[in-house]
């Protein structure tokens, strides 16, 4: 089940309305920008607005990281996870809306059983069971309690009362009784914890904001959870849980200390990777198919490595070198494997794994949007697509939503890629640009994508299509250029580029779309990003240290007193 969360009108996803598409693109976009850029010039955080408390499903990568952190990275997780749901442009927002099908419960159950069996196995118990029972066949209440006390708070990301721990201790007892083995009892108690909604869902709890009457805020443990999954894509570690229990996350110093600690830790890279994996829509690779006759160099390994190539470039640039975010669009530094080298036609000496490389200057390849992780993803199975690429640049990097094409369009021309009358994509798209129903939006997408036409549907360099030379001139919102490098520079310089990142990052962090009242806050973040020379770790720090990050909007109630908003859910237990 997917619940569409009602949010107030959003400014942040600037839909390029169809009517707007008909006007000249650059003017329409400039207008849209101004609408959202009306904040004052100071760098003080505006009054917090906040949003509703959420209930977010752990993503697959979060689940895996969480198990690795709580137990060990070597504990096998034997399950197949359901695909994430993309909502408002992000899987992170989908986690607040996705339901829990019987299939996913079955898989979580399988995962829980595989993890629990491993934890109590002879191989792992010395390391992972925090006590030795007197004997395997005698119930040891002390050890059962110690085990539950150790894992329940870690798995549920909060402290539990003695009363709350009791059912799990009871499960140890029952398991032990029926199976005549203490470790089997521990195993089933652990399965119970891992099937709890409090483990599988991040249920945010709120409390009144003491400083701002009428507003609410996240409680200590919900803060720790939101913070940890944003910065490290994993569960709060014990130090963070300790700080939360001690109320330190409510003080600026306490919070800053934890934030700096997490950003400096190696786990921070996982947070950055998780964000960009989401932003770049890498789950689409699961369905990506290429015609093996046209693109013989494509295979599943190349598909996987194309994603990793971008992520390595991103972490190297943004964390390793603390570079300007916008440099991602102009850098020629990259990483290659043997299989990728075939597509890029570059030598790769390293037999297995990755090596640092550089795109040669003469192909115009610069920026992550000219790697195959972008170019192949936003192409057709047998040919490139200036339109899809232009659309993706608008949506992924500039946060501009392009409407779907109108019905009853004649696509036969563009779907005839070997047409001799129209050998190049530019020729074929001319048709669309001259049809009134199509022209408006294609004018927004095609000039971007056409500059990438020197890269075929897989992303390999070419200078001709069907024998005809390729004209790679194009424009972006008033800036004209005639090479992919020109587009790279234009993306680097575009005012929407950093703003879009800020918006996506914030929405990723809080798991919901932004609301109208958050406009000044977004302007504040954008200005801070600029002031911090577009360093992404700094931006993430600014977000989590802002008061708005933990704020809960006052219009919503908390704790047992929620209004039934039209949904009538029976509360009695199912027989």
């Amino acid at each position: 089940m997917i619940v569409a969360r009602s949010v107030l009108p959003s400014c942040m996803t600037r839909k390029i309305r169809l009517s707007v598409c008909f006007s000249i693109a650059s003017i329409c976009l400039a207008g849209a920008l101004n609408g959202c850029n009306s904040a004052d010039e100071t760098l003080a955080e505006p009054t917090p607005v906040g949003g509703p408390p959420l209930m977010r499903r752990l993503t697959e990568s979060q689940y895996r990281a969480t198990i690795a952190d709580i137990f060990s990275a070597e504990i096998p997780i034997a399950a197949r996870f359901e695909r994430g749901v993309r909502a408002d442009g992000l899987l992170a927002i989908g986690t607040s809306e996705a339901g829990m099908s019987p299939f996913s419960i079955e898989q979580y159950d399988a995962a829980a059983r595989s993890v629990a069996s491993a934890v109590v196995s002879e191989q792992w118990r010395k390391q992972l069971v925090p006590c030795r029972p007197q004997s395997e066949t005698v119930f040891d209440e002390g050890c059962a309690t110690a085990f539950v006390e150790h894992y329940a708070p870690r798995l549920m990301r909060r402290t539990l009362s003695t009363q709350e721990l009791q059912p799990y201790i009871e499960l140890v007892r029952r398991g032990h009784r029926q199976l005549d083995n203490f470790y089997e009892g521990l195993k089933f108690a652990l399965i119970g914890m891992m099937m709890s909604p409090e483990f599988l869902l991040r249920i945010e709890n709120t409390e009144p904001d003491t400083e701002m009457p009428g507003l609410y805020q996240l409680d200590d443990f919900s803060r720790a959870t939101r913070l940890s999954y944003f910065l490290t894509n994993s569960t709060p570690d014990s130090e963070l849980l300790r700080a939360a229990a001690a109320g330190e996350l409510k003080t600026r110093e306490g919070l800053a200390g934890q934030v700096d600690r997490l950003i400096a830790s190696p786990r921070f890279e996982d947070g950055v990777r998780a964000f960009f994996t989401d932003m770049l829509e890498f789950e689409l690779f699961d369905d990506l198919a290429k015609d093996p006759v046209i693109y013989p160099a494509f295979n599943s390994q190349v598909a996987a490595e194309a994603q990793e190539q971008i992520l390595l470039t991103i972490t190297d640039q943004l964390i390793g070198r603390n570079a300007d975010y916008r440099d991602l669009f102009i850098t020629r530094d990259t990483y290659l494997t043997r299989d990728l080298g075939i597509v890029y036609r570059l030598p790769v000496a390293t037999r297995k794994g990755w090596e640092k490389s550089e795109f040669p200057q003469d192909t115009g390849r610069a920026g992550i949007h000219t790697t195959i992780g972008f170019l192949a993803l936003h192409s057709h199975p047998g040919r490139s697509s200036p339109t899809l690429r232009g659309k993706a640049i608008r949506e992924v990097f500039l946060c501009q939503e392009v409407p779907d094409p109108p019905p009853n369009v004649n696509f036969s021309v563009v779907q005839e890629p070997t047409s001799t009358n129209m050998p190049t994509a530019r020729d074929r798209l001319e048709e669309h640009r001259t049809q009134a129903a199509c022209a408006g939006c294609h004018k927004i997408m095609d000039p971007l994508g056409l500059t990438l036409e020197n890269f075929d549907g897989l992303g390999a360099y070419r200078t001709r299509e069907n024998g005809a030379p390729i004209d790679s001139s194009g424009s972006l919102d008033g800036t004209e250029f005639n090479t992919a490098e020109g587009l790279a520079q234009a993306l680097h310089d575009h005012p929407e580029t950093p703003r879009c990142l800020v918006e996506k990052m914030y929405r990723f962090a809080v798991g919901r779309d932004t609301v109208w009242e958050e406009r000044p806050y977004m302007d504040y973040l954008v200005k801070m990003f600029e002031a911090e020379s577009y360093r992404v770790p700094e931006l993430m720090r600014t977000i989590v240290l802002s008061r708005n990050f933990f704020a809960i909007s006052g219009v919503r109630q908390y704790g047992g007193e929620f209004q039934n908003a039209g949904l009538n859910i029976p509360m009695e237990e199912t027989p």
């Binding site: 996705a98 869902l201 704790g559």
Partner: protein
């Protein structure tokens, strides 16, 4: 509603298609006591088996020209027309050698069955059938049954290097082993529910105990989602509750008569006859739950099959017979390749000939059929022909999938997962994979 089979329900659940299935819907499948299924009143076990034929295939006579469901059956698959909807055809999946020397007819077979290429019979991991029998074969008399029908005492079922599960080659010996001394009337066997299942069931009940508290801490929108969570938990509880019920009584079971003395050699006609009889015995053994896992070696990977009146074996022909310039392939080799598919059809006939529940035994079997190589004369381990039959709704059939050079361990992984094994990643080196063949699931 009463006509919906149990499989329909489980199929929905397993495929994730039953998203949001409400409890009242499920209830209609339960009898008055709320425990067992209506209809037979009992559950039926799922079986797993492998069926091997040697020396590969003639690609252009076997691989359908198109993928998906609307493919045309090529000449060598025509014998399987009756089972078209019950078969998944898998072409173009490779054993990846990673520099391991390709021991002809061995490396491909074990690579497919263990997910690890080996240069000899020293497997580095159990074969897939052993992994499955460890999971589902615990409570039967035989953990698995192996048969070889071309007179060769060989098996490709290994727990570890040096410990193969040996094959029966004689129908009479097979009969004695199953239905001779120690055979019990299947109706009399007592049932003891698995205590693991019992405690697992109570764990999930305990999870549900938290429902009321949590429903009160979330907002209205999330309440609907949380409700779905607990409904799904409840459904899983019901599935496990089923395991606590005794299995279905064996319907229509008649103990077979002892088979006649047959000529056990490698002449094709004799092998076909031996195979038919041994397959029939095996089907009966499955029907009365003597085992849940089986391995059939129709012809050895270096196939010693031969036509009557000739002295050259199938394997030798693959290397020796010139290509027929008109046909573009080896004429005699093609004959053996096609007859092997006829044998495979006859094997399925035996399974489908035994009624079980509201279907047949084949409905409750998942059989993985495969060869040891693709083109035998080249010993190519790329694109080894593979099929999945039956599948009990656990896997999609009636479809042809092209692997496009993906590791063949994806097949083994998917089959294990379909059989309920909790495995997420399988194989090693280039064949290590966690990529379930999702096209087989939906």
């Amino acid at each position: 509603m009463k006509n919906l089979s149990r499989r329909t329900v489980l199929r929905g659940a397993l495929k994730g298609a039953g998203v949001g299935v409400a409890l009242p819907f499920l209830n209609c499948f339960l009898d008055d006591s709320g425990k067992a299924f209506a209809g037979t009143g009992q559950r039926l076990p799922m079986r797993f088996g492998t069926w091997i034929w040697g020396c590969g295939f003639i690609p252009e006579l076997w691989i359908p020209a198109s993928t998906g469901t609307d493919y045309e059956l090529p000449a060598h698959l025509l014998p399987l027309e009756p089972y078209r909807d019950r078969l998944a055809l898998l072409s173009g999946f490779d054993v990846k050698l990673d520099g391991v020397p390709n021991k002809p007819h061995i490396t491909g077979c074990f690579g497919l069955r263990t997910g690890i290429p080996v240069p000899d019979s020293n497997v580095k991991a159990p074969t897939i059938d052993v992994l499955v029998s460890d999971a589902i074969g615990r409570n039967t008399r035989f953990k698995s049954l192996e048969i070889s029908t071309s007179g060769i005492q060989r098996s490709y079922s290994y727990r570890s290097a040096g410990s193969p599960n040996p094959s029966e080659i004689s129908p009479i010996a097979l009969y004695e082993r199953i239905f001779g001394e120690g055979f019990q009337d299947p109706g009399a066997a007592s049932f003891k529910p698995d205590t693991q299942d019992m405690i697992h069931h109570s764990v999930l009940s305990a999870v549900s105990d938290d429902r009321h508290r949590l429903m009160n801490v979330v907002g209205a929108e999330d309440r609907a989602r949380l409700d779905e969570f607990f409904t799904s938990i409840r459904q899983l509880e019901q599935q496990i509750a089923l395991q606590l019920e005794p299995p279905a009584p064996i319907e229509n079971f008649v103990k077979p008569d002892a088979p006649p003395q047959l000529t056990l050699d490698s002449e094709m006609g004799n092998v076909m006859e031996t195979h038919r009889i041994m397959a029939g015995l095996l089907a009966k053994a499955l029907q009365c739950n003597q085992t849940r896992v089986f391995n059939v070696l129709f012809s050895d990977t270096t196939s010693n099959l031969r036509r009557p009146g000739t002295t050259t074996t199938h394997h030798t022909l693959t290397h020796e017979e010139p290509l027929d310039p008109e046909l573009g392939h080896q004429r005699e080799v093609a004959w053996f390749a096609r007859e092997s598919m006829v044998a495979w059809r006859e094997f399925l006939d035996e399974l489908a000939g035994i009624p079980e529940g509201d279907g047949t035994l084949l409905d409750n079997c998942l059989v993985l059929a495969h060869s040891d190589c693709s083109i035998a004369k080249a010993h190519a381990v790329e694109g080894i022909p593979t099929m999945i039959a039956g599948g009990g709704g656990l896997l999609r059939t009636g479809v042809h999938l092209a692997g496009k050079g993906d590791p063949i361990s994806r097949v083994g992984l998917t089959v294990q997962q379909a059989m309920g094994l909790q495995v997420e990643r399988w194989g090693s080196l280039s064949m290590e994979t966690n990529r379930t063949i999702t096209e087989l699931l939906s």
